[in-house]
């Protein structure tokens, strides 16, 4: 043991003498772990929320029985229990508190299946309080804060009902209130009525459903993935892809610093072996050293990752809420598994990055081979190999594009494209430099190009990292910019009405409409309606648009027949969203059958419109036709045409008259601002990760240059000895770094545009179902180029300054000592 400790101490003494190397190694590991685990924390937080939501919905994770109407008699529950069915009742409804509409869930804690995943939890002592009137109303802390109430408060519902005392239940989803079933029946005025029955674990033989409930109840299979998960999958895949990219860029740093450290320690390793440290002991200690460094860095990385996640969480939560209605609590809560996974990824990342070095050390012969490396040949072989690999990866990318149909295939293609480009980069640089070498006639420039070529292998990993980071930056930047430009125009057409109203119920809506008709400033009341149904097994929104010039003039259509709005009036035609068109491969002239309460409703597709940001498929039909086919459609939503200067007074008057708040009354400008805000936040996360990645690439470049700088001296010393000043040498070094960085950055631009095209035409279409027009933004590209060169300059400056200031004696020493 003490032998191992001594050997470890000797190995570690290297870092004490080279703290900069240690720092870069740790920085690489920390940033890799931090970015990856930060993204994982965000994903985990969101997934937990979906689970909670699914469980609270009494939802899709559990098999259940549902009726044909909204509720069914409680007697069915008792009959089924007495026939051996392990069912538990749930009643669901909505309750208004101070203008907010919240979901009320009535549950029966005694029969509630234990396997209903993250069911709300209650202390044993509180169970009695929960079921005994007045009972308790469980809410999440967020809901409590939203209601501006305190624990124990007994708020009044809008209809004057006194609600049970509120109690915070940390695991609950925001916007949901949970009470005992008996209390729910009272609050919702649904005595002896239930919404659904959750089916628990099998308890032995049971009678057939048909024999007990006839066809009053229908069995619904449990669903492994919740609707929310399906909808948000693409968003999380996006995050994960970025996390992974950052992780690999981080590993580039680790790889280069570990590579250097091992290279420098090879003589030490030989001496250790000569002094009698066995190969096995040395390898064990080398791995132990690496693992302990990785553990330290992993923990630090996790802490950083936590802060990254905490910083990004509000944006992520906002986008998920805005896009999908998914409620994510703003407080980060992490499972132990996250910490473990983070440390594990750090350790395995370090081992992967150190793989080549470790193998080299393990195979290290005790006797140094005396002949110098034939670097030229080796490099040529290496370049050939990499180019071949790049070619293979490009072919794979092509296959993904042609054959792949999923979002994953889209990302795989993107990854293959980037990887291929990165692999090809050294060969391209080599080509450019050797052209330069051939073109150069004077000795110094010739040496410049030749020496740059020799340096390629050392610098290429960092340059590859830079290329990737830049390309992704260009790609994402272009996509985001394209998006916001398209979105703004689209929103202008889409939000054609001036004021949007959402009444509490049909009665209030009718009152409002009557009141509004008497107001002169209201030019038109545009009724709107929305029904939810199914099409080909997936949810479908049916939007009712009134026959009004507001729509025919402004509503943006991607393509349509001639005079679509006239055709729409007949009630047997529909405009469909781009998402639906792409998902079901539908085009103009096709006919579809929409399931409606009165039987299937056949409609002809007469146009396709963009519906950015809506995860569901949608069709738009004539409003009158909608209300005929879906008689139950609430008629609570409508728009108003109002002269712009009259809008504020009208809003004030309406708020006063009907006691409305901002949630059910909004003018167009507010709606637009809100929509834009949601989309901006969606891409804020992407942009932030993007910046992190670029930063990490900058560090990668810096560390590579620093590590190279040391091994450069022997090459520079002869030049110095033949009379080139240190300052001149430094300038040459600077020029060399900047020129390879420039070539790399220039290559990154077209690659980035290709990435943007992939994101817009492949990934986005697969993730969200819509495609954006492709724009190029030259100013943005120039800016990025500048940033990249600046990063390279910063990274190159430090070693160059060191070189310029180096004491001549040091150069003499190097010249004298190195072979």
């Amino acid at each position: 043991m003490s032998r191992a400790v001594w050997t470890l101490a000797v190995l570690l003494s290297h870092w004490r003498r080279h703290p900069m190397q240690l720092a870069t190694l740790l920085i690489g590991l920390i940033s890799a772990t931090a970015l990856w685990s930060g993204v994982q924390a965000l994903n985990q937080q969101a997934r937990n929320s979906y689970d909670r939501a699914a469980a609270t919905f009494g939802g899709t994770r559990t098999a259940m029985l549902v009726g044909s109407a909204a509720t069914f008699p409680q007697k069915l529950f008792v009959d089924l229990r007495r026939a051996g069915w392990p069912v538990s009742p749930v009643l669901e409804g909505r309750i208004q508190i101070g203008g907010r509409s919240l979901r009320l869930l009535g549950i029966e804690p005694v029969t509630m299946p234990t396997q209903v995943g993250n069911a709300p939890t209650l202390g044993t002592a509180n169970l009695q309080a929960f079921v005994t009137p007045p009972g308790q109303m469980l809410v999440s802390a967020e809901t409590l804060a939203d209601l501006k109430l305190y624990e124990g408060a007994t708020p009044l519902a809008n209809d004057g009902t006194q609600l049970p005392p509120l109690r915070v239940q940390a695991q609950l989803v925001p916007g949901v209130m949970v009470v005992d079933i008996g209390i729910a029946q009272k609050l919702l005025n649904k005595p002896d009525q239930l919404s659904r029955l959750l089916i628990g674990k099998d308890r032995g033989p049971r009678a057939s459903l048909q024999s007990i409930a006839g066809d009053a109840l229908r069995y619904v299979e449990p669903d492994a993935a919740t609707d929310l998960e399906r909808l948000t999958d693409s968003f999380h895949l996006n995050l994960t892809a970025f996390g992974l990219l950052s992780f690999f860029v981080g590993l580039f740093i680790v790889n280069s610093s570990i590579g250097l450290a091992f290279e420098q320690r090879l003589p030490m390793l030989r001496t250790l072996r000569a002094c009698g440290v066995s190969a096995r002991m040395l390898n064990t200690v080398l791995v132990a050293e690496l693992v302990s460094l990785a553990l330290v860095a992993g923990l630090a990385g996790l802490v950083c990752g936590y802060f990254i996640a905490a910083a990004l969480l509000p944006d992520v939560a906002a986008s998920l809420r805005g896009l999908y209605g998914a409620q994510i609590p703003g407080q980060l809560s992490l499972k132990p598994a996250w910490w473990l996974a983070g440390v594990a990824i750090s350790v395995s990342g370090a081992l992967i990055a150190a793989c080549a070095s470790l193998v080299k050390a393990i195979r290290l012969p005790v006797l140094a081979s005396a002949q110098p490396q034939a670097w030229h040949q080796a490099q040529r072989r290496w370049l050939k190999f990499q180019s071949a690999a790049a070619l293979a990866v490009f072919i794979a990318a092509g296959c993904f594009l042609w054959l792949g149909d999923s979002l994953l295939a889209g990302f795989a293609m993107l990854a293959a494209l980037l990887l291929g480009a990165a692999l090809l980069l050294p060969a391209i640089l080599e080509r450019v430099l050797s052209l330069g070498e051939r073109g150069a006639t004077r000795p110094l420039p010739k040496w410049f190009f030749a020496d740059s070529r020799q340096q390629l292998s050392g610098l290429s990993l960092a340059l590859m990292a830079l290329l990737l980071a830049l390309a992704v930056n260009v790609g994402v930047g272009t996509m985001v910019e394209s998006f916001s430009r398209t979105f703004v125009t689209w929103l202008d057409g889409r939000l054609a009405a001036d004021v949007y109203v959402n009444a509490a119920n049909d009665r209030q809506a009718t009152e409002m409409k009557t009141w509004l008709r008497d107001r002169d400033e209201v030019q038109a009341v545009l009724p709107g309606g929305r029904a939810d149904t199914q099409f080909a097994g997936a949810p479908l929104e049916v939007l009712g648009l009134p026959d009004h010039t507001t729509y025919s003039d402004h509503w943006p259509l991607l393509e349509s027949i001639r005079n679509p709005w006239v055709r729409l009036r007949a009630g047997d035609a529909a405009l469909i969203s781009e998402q639906l068109s792409r998902r079901m491969n539908l085009s103009i002239g096709d006919r579809i059958e929409v399931s409606a309460p009165g039987g299937d409703w056949p409609v002809e597709i007469i146009g396709i419109y963009a519906d950015y940001g809506n995860p569901k498929s949608q069709i738009a039909v004539n409003y009158a036709a909608l209300t005929r086919r879906f008689p139950g459609t609430p008629q609570t939503r409508f728009g108003l045409r109002v002269a712009p200067e009259k809008i504020p007074p009208l809003l004030t008057a309406m708020k006063e008259q009907f006691s409305l708040d901002d949630r059910n009354l909004a003018d167009q400008a507010t709606m637009k601002a809100e929509s834009k805000r949601i989309f901006n936040r969606t891409f804020a996360v992407t942009a932030a990760l993007n910046t992190f990645t670029l930063g990490v690439a900058g560090i990668a470049l810096l560390t590579s240059l620093l590590t190279l700088a040391n091994s450069r001296l022997p090459q520079l010393a002869p030049l110095w000895s033949i009379g080139i000043t240190r300052q001149r040498l430094a300038l040459i070094e600077l020029a060399r770094t900047m020129s390879v960085a420039l070539i790399t950055a220039l290559l990154a631009l077209p690659l980035g545009l290709l990435v943007a095209w992939c994101l817009i035409a492949v990934v986005n279409v697969k993730a969200f179902g819509w495609r954006l027009p492709f724009h190029v933004f030259p100013l943005q590209l120039m800016q990025l180029l500048g940033v990249a060169l600046f990063a390279a300059l910063c990274a190159a400056l430090l070693p160059v300054i060191r070189l310029a200031r180096m004491h001549p004696a040091a150069l003499i020493r190097i010249f004298a000592n190195e072979r």
Partner: protein
């Protein structure tokens, strides 16, 4: 929130229903020895009326319907079956309609063979019909488990009845007949549990003859034998210093029946109570100081040491027997776990019976 459990059957068992106790839950559990404020008190001199007293007594805190059966199949292999329905009030006051009912129900069922013991439980709230007891016609049920009066049901005999229960890996259906009326335990149905007033109302039907079918892992066996029903209700059956009990119900081969139990006190002292029932149904309290129950063998089960074999002596009756369990691993792994299983005995008398051990 780490201290919280789930709202679930389990938590409910740990909370309200565990208080139910029954004989099975006298584990020094606070609920059983809580003061009975607000609930009706058990006093001597009650006149029992049937079938009314077969039904629930919601003014009392706890109550149970408890059947055990010693059975044999055609080849002579021994079986045991247990069926129990517990009721507990969660709050004093009359039982209300619907979910506000204030009564919780729990069912336990088990079957035992020399090589197998299976047990299960289920829970329900009163007031909606998932569980309950009705007197005319007589039926006690929870989910699809039932004790149901058949045609020609005689309330004084509590017979004939059909008894069913099922789980994923066992089920049974038994018909119970009795040619003699039920008997009152203790002093005319008043069963004293301590010197400080803890008591219950208690009657039994020890003369059931049982016949039916037990299915274990889809393998059916037609069985016949003897069965015993206990009915008991109370508001505070245990004193605060009592930690558990060891309870026998024995069918002697002479046609006599013996109900005997020992209440263990935390200070190590024990109280013995029991009734000797003659073949013609006369029930006599036995409370002699020289009666004794002594464990002779212990079984390690579920991390505890449980006395599963006993020597029982009642010198005044000339009774001196050794009991052995049919299956020493008759452990009820329910929310509140206890040992309950069929036994047989030899010595001055031979016969079969049931043993219940709680608070270990």
């Amino acid at each position: 929130m780490s201290a919280s459990g789930k709202i679930s059957r389990r938590a409910f068992a740990g909370g309200a229903l565990a208080l139910l106790g029954g004989r099975a839950f006298a584990q020094g559990f606070a609920g059983l020895s809580e003061t009975a404020d607000g609930y009706a008190a058990v006093v001597p001199g009650k006149r029992f009326v049937f079938p009314a007293d077969h039904g629930p007594h919601p003014e009392f805190r706890i109550e149970w319907w408890y059947v055990t059966a010693n059975l044999k199949d055609a080849a002579g292999a021994a079986y045991g079956a247990q069926w129990t329905l517990f009721r507990q009030a969660t709050q004093p006051g009359p039982a209300l309609e619907g979910w506000a009912n204030r009564n919780a129900w729990m069912g336990h069922a088990a079957v035992t063979r020399a090589d197998t013991h299976r047990s299960t439980e289920t829970f329900a709230r009163g007031g909606v019909g998932q569980a309950g007891v009705e007197t005319a016609p007589f039926q006690a049920w929870i989910d699809n488990w039932r004790m149901r009066g058949l045609d020609a049901f005689d309330a004084d005999h509590v017979a004939p009845v059909e008894l069913t229960a099922s789980s994923t890996d066992f089920s049974y259906s038994l018909r119970l007949d009795a040619d003699r009326p039920l008997v009152l335990q203790g002093d005319a149905g008043f069963s004293r549990k301590s010197d400080r007033g803890q008591a219950s109302y208690y009657y039994s039907q020890p003369f059931f003859k049982a016949a039916g079918r037990i299915v274990i892992d889809d393998k059916p066996a037609d069985v016949t034998g003897l069965a015993w029903m206990d009915r008991e209700w109370s508001s505070q059956p245990l004193a605060s210093d009592q930690s558990g009990w060891d309870w026998f119900s024995l069918h002697l081969d002479t046609g006599e029946k013996l109900m005997l139990y020992r209440l263990r006190q935390k200070d190590g002292a024990n109280n013995l109570f029991g009734n000797f029932i003659t073949p013609d149904g006369r029930s006599v309290e036995i409370a002699a100081a020289d009666n004794s129950m002594t464990p002779t063998s212990f079984t390690d089960i579920a991390g505890r040491k449980v006395p599963t074999a006993w020597r029982v002596a009642i010198p005044a009756r000339g009774l001196n027997i050794e009991t052995v369990p049919l299956n020493p691993k008759s452990w009820m792994s329910t929310g509140f776990a206890y040992w309950e299983g069929p036994i047989s005995f030899t010595g001055s008398h031979r016969g079969v019976g049931y043993l219940e051990l709680t608070g270990y």
